[in-house]
Structure formats: C-alpha cells, structure tokens
C-alpha cells in the first residue's frame, strides 16, 4: 500500500497537510515533521489532496497554527485526525462582517 503522508511544517503547528490522494474516513496516515518524527493517525472525514487534519485535539476557540503562525480560530471542537477546513476554522482577518469591522 502507498504511504499516505501528512506534513507538519513547524513544531508549534496543530495541523498537518495531507499530500496523498484517496484519503477517506478511517484511512491511516503518517504525520511527519521536519526532524523526521512520525506519528500515525486515523483520519476522521474524507480529506482531499492538500487539505489539513488536526495533529492533536483542538478546542473550540483555540488558535489553529500552521507554519508556526495563526491561520485562524477553531469554531468547533476538533479531534486529533479530524479534517480541518472552512467548516471548523474561521479566518480572523478581513472580517467586515464582525462588529467594528464595517466602516460607519
């Protein structure tokens, strides 16, 4: 079976990016970081090529970190291995819809 790989860019990251096709709910992927550490995780949800999964449990309201920097905020409880995208991650920038965002 082909290796199903997910890459974690920075040690601080709580998500990893999957670079493999046909990742379905229940597929096992191998998360690798820069140092070559490996962690096997069961994916929750169907995850397209290039999309992200949580590398640990993330609580609602927690920051989501990639490249060691904030890329958004969790809008739901996210379990380790779960698909992370716009359904459970909110951007914090360019938010004219939020209070104080619109120019009066």
């Amino acid at each position: 079976m082909d290796l199903k790989l997910a890459l974690k860019v920075n040690d601080k990251d709580n998500v990893a990016t999957i670079f493999a096709n046909d990742i379905r709910d229940g597929t096992e992927v191998e998360i690798r970081d820069k140092a070559g550490h490996m962690d096997k995780v069961m994916v929750k949800g169907d995850v397209p090529y290039g999309h992200k999964i949580a590398v640990r449990d993330i609580h609602k309201g927690d920051l989501i970190i990639k490249y060691g920097e904030e890329i958004g905020i969790a809008t739901k409880e996210i379990a380790k291995g779960e698909y992370v995208h716009i359904h459970n991650l909110d951007s914090m920038r360019g938010r004219g819809d939020l209070q104080g965002g619109a120019v009066s």
């Binding site: 890459l7 990016t17 992200k52 904030e70 890329i71 958004g72 938010r95 004219g96």
Partner: protein, 387 residues
C-alpha cells in the same frame, strides 16, 4: 555572471525587444489592437482605465502607463490617444521621450477616426519595428536583472514547494546584486509581522504594516467576510482555509533577505537593488501590469491549481508546486516543483533548475505562455470609483 540583453539609452537592460503600443485610455484599445495585429514585433496593453475616474486615479493610470513604457523590454513606443481622455497623454509622451527611446503619438479624433488612425499607427509602428529590429544583445552583468515574483491560483503545495523555490531564487539573485520585487499586499494579511521584521529600518517596517492595514480596511469596508474573495474558491478547494494560511505560504516566495522599501503601484525602479515590495492586489491582471511597470524583465510565477496567463511585455515563468496539476497542465507550466512534494527533488535542486531557466528566458528563450501569446487580460489597479 552575465546574461545577453538589450542595453537601452537609459542604461536599463531588456530581455525582449518589442515596440510597445500603449493606449492612453480604454477608448483607444481597438486601434491599438488593430495596429498590434498588423505589425509583428509589437505588443499592446489593452487596459480598461483612463477616463471618468477621480483625479488621483487618472494620475495613477498616467503614471502606470509611463512606467510600462519605461520597461527595458520595450525598445520604442507608440502612444495611441483618443484625444479627449482624462489621462495626461502629453506628459506620457514627454516623459517617455526623455528615456531616449523613440516615442511617437497619434490621436484618433485628430486623425479623423478609427480607420485613419489604424492606418497612420500601422505605418508608424512598421517604421519603429524596422528601426529596432536590428538591435543586438550584448553581455551584461546579472546585477541588471529585475525579477518580479507572484503566486496565483495557489493551493497548499504553493507554500511548501513552488514558493520555496522562488524564495531560493530570490535570495540567490539578491546575493548577486540584482533586484527582486514582490507584491500582493492582500496576501500579507496574517504574515505582515514577519515581513515588517525583515525591513531594513523601522520606517520601512511601518510602511509595510500601513499598506496591509489600508488594504484590509478597503476589504472590510464592504461589510462582509473576505473569504471567497480572498482566499478564492479555487484556493479553498485547494485546501487553503483562510487568508492567513494563504499569506503565510505566499510570503515564503520573498526569500529571506532584508526588505529595502515599498514601491507605489505605479512606480518604476531606477537604480534600486535588493528585495523590494510593491503595493498591489493579488489579482493577476492588476499585479502583472504593476510588476511590468516596475521594470521587471520577467516574472517568476508560482501556482498550485494552474494559472496559465502571462503579460505582453514581460515573460512569465510558471512554476507548479502541485504534482497532479503539473501532470494535467504541463503545456502551461514551465517548471515542476511538484517533485518536492513527492520527495523526488529538494528545494535547492528545483531552485537551481529555476535559476538556469530564468537565465535562458533572459537570453531570449520563450516561456510557454509567451509562445502562445496568452497574455491579453491586463489592467491597472485603481482605488476610487468609475464615475
């Protein structure tokens, strides 16, 4: 290190030798296009601006068109004016003639209409092309290179493969004494603190934060979530969840060198060296125009989903980070950085391939989009309303 270029009267060095047909206003586009179709060796810039705009925008359009004419890839210029436009075609002519290039201007209304203007313009363009077609390339130092960089139709491979390759090339060119320009201010949102830290001084750092803040305020003034506008539906389908994620991947392409300053959208460089920012939006027609106006001889353009477009006067080298896309769109992609994702090559290996490619392109080798002339969608970024 040397490349073979066309040395212009103002000392800049071109990688191409075109006659530029510049419409001073969108109303002159059809005449400019007809001349361009008739006369080989010409390129034209079919933009949609130049009249019924607020005065600062009219000045912005005039300045951008002048800067486009400054491009060392243009050997001579024909300005096509309607006659009653809001842009300042007289200043365009004067400032471009001061570069030492042969510059001509025609006015459609004065010549008695479209067909007469096409005839007059064709005769002038033919004369200009014959005049410059015998110019020869000569060896010049690599420090004369001005590379513009951009990522478009990005996905999550962009920030991990193709943008890393461009970052490698950007660092190498800066070390060789050349100039590198990056932009896409919208795609600094969430990563601006990292860029400000690389500014050569506090003033430049503050300017970076200021252009990002202004761009974010313009987006927020519409009163909705920016997502779907930025990141685009294509970015989102490619796995990018927020502008912050897109930005952090995008700024990787600027490499690691200090940021010397921020150029306005319409500005062209004269003697600046090192890494510079130009304040531009992310959308292709506007940023490609802005970057060509900077005076870049070429652009290195990273993509994940597969953005095929180029620019009339500036060859665009496409480097694809997504191995699936490269396989699917090889006809439009010049370099494959997807091999980094599959683990077959290192960033440095593809970086060296990209460097070898850019030298070839500077020396005259065509890029894929250049060969098929996929470059007509261009425009000038304006801030105010069309009125």
């Amino acid at each position: 290190m040397k490349f073979m270029g066309y040395v212009r009267p103002d000392g800049k060095v071109g990688a191409r030798n075109y006659v530029g047909i510049i419409p001073s206003v969108t109303c002159a586009n059809d005449v400019a296009q007809a001349i361009n179709r008739q006369v080989q060796g010409t390129v034209t810039f079919l933009h949609h601006q130049g009249c019924c705009q607020m005065p600062p925008d009219l000045e912005r359009v005039t300045n951008t068109l002048i800067s486009l004419g400054h491009s060392p890839n243009l050997a001579a210029i024909l300005i096509v004016s309607l006659g009653c436009e809001g842009t300042d075609h007289e200043r365009m002519f004067k400032e471009l003639a001061a570069t030492g290039k042969h510059v001509e201007i025609i006015h459609i209304q004065e010549l008695g209409g479209v067909s007469k203007a096409i005839q007059a313009g064709t005769d002038i363009a033919r004369k200009l092309v014959i005049e410059v077609s015998g110019l020869q390339r000569e060896p010049v130092d690599i420090s004369k290179v001005v590379m513009s960089i951009k990522c478009g139709a990005s996905d999550t491979t962009s920030g991990m493969a193709s943008n890393c390759v461009i970052g490698y090339v950007a660092d190498k060119l800066v070390d060789l004494g050349a100039t590198v320009i990056f932009g896409e201010t919208t795609e600094f949102l969430g990563g601006e603190h990292l860029l400000a830290r690389r500014a050569i001084n506090k003033q430049v750092g503050n300017k970076i934060l200021q252009i990002v803040d202004a761009m974010e305020k313009r987006a927020k003034s519409i009163g909705c979530d920016m997502r779907k506008g930025q990141p685009t539906p294509g970015n989102i389908a490619g796995g990018l969840s927020s502008i912050e994620e897109k930005s952090l991947g995008a700024i990787v392409k600027s490499g690691t060198k200090p940021i010397q300053g921020v150029l306005e959208y319409w500005e062209h460089i004269t003697t600046e060296k090192g890494l510079w920012i130009k304040d531009t939006p992310g959308r292709e027609p506007e940023i490609l125009t802005g970057m060509a106006a900077t005076g870049a001889q070429f652009m290195m353009f990273s993509t994940g989903r597969g953005a095929p477009q180029g620019f009339p006067s500036m060859p665009v080298i496409k480097i694809c980070g997504n191995p699936n896309t490269y396989q699917n769109m090889e006809n439009d992609m010049d370099l494959n950085a997807g091999l980094i994702i599959t683990g077959e090559k290192s960033i440095e290996q593809v970086g060296e391939e990209a460097f070898a490619k850019l030298l070839k392109v500077l020396n005259g080798e065509m890029t894929k989009n250049e060969a098929i002339q996929y470059f007509s969608a261009i425009d000038i970024h304006c801030l105010g309303p069309v009125i």
